[in-house]
Point group: C2
Chain length 96, copies 2
DNA sequence: TTGACAGGCAAGTGGTTACTTGCCTATTGT
DNA sequence: ACAATAGGCAAGTAACCACTTGCCTGTCAA
């Protein structure tokens, strides 16, 4: 549902996670934790980040690929593509 | 801030309010209450809607124009226009 | 000027959410 | 085998958020 996407994006930490994955896709949980701390000044625990990733996955914004003891996170931009189209038709003119 | 926009859009009632204003701009609080109840099956009180409108205004998604004892609400689509661009560059190739 | 109409203010409540803490499981290198 | 690494589960807490309730202000028509 689209509501899940907006709810997922409503949190600043989650938006930063997407930023990180947009810059370097396929990071593991530990990589993300390290980079969020070092580069973005976020001091969240591993569990907190893990829970954020769950929310992002439920919203379809990331895809999780398990491999051995690693867990790679991939950005999925599809749900982001026509997010606000619902309110943006006027300019053209042809409503359905 | 962009975070305010996502937070504002995270609520279903607020998204429906934007739908209503997209269809018929410049409604008053009472009009909105009536139409949300009758057409969208939402049973919220006037105050609840009023608070939602405050949030939408704070996010820059509506503009409020006072006139006599009426208060007209207008949709502002500008904050919606490049909402997700932040994560959508990859396809092209030319980062800033 | 009085009453009806449109809206505002503010305190309180219940549910949700972000985050922590503590412990557990699975995979891998030596 | 064993320890280190990568991650998972679940209960508890504090803050936030949507919504209600009760009362108040301002505008207009009769």
């Amino acid at each position: 549902m689209a509501g899940d996407v907006f709810r997922a994006l409503a949190d600043g930490t989650r938006r930063t996670i997407l930023d990180e994955l947009a810059e370097r896709d396929g990071q593991t949980l530990f990589e993300l934790c390290a980079r969020l701390t070092n580069r973005h000044g976020l001091g969240s625990t591993r569990q907190a980040i893990s829970q954020h990733l769950d929310v992002l996955e439920a919203a379809g914004l990331i895809e999780v690929r398990r491999e051995g003891r690693y867990r790679f996170h991939h950005l999925r931009t599809e749900p982001l593509e026509h997010l606000a189209d619902r309110w943006l038709d006027p300019p053209g003119s042809n409503e359905r």
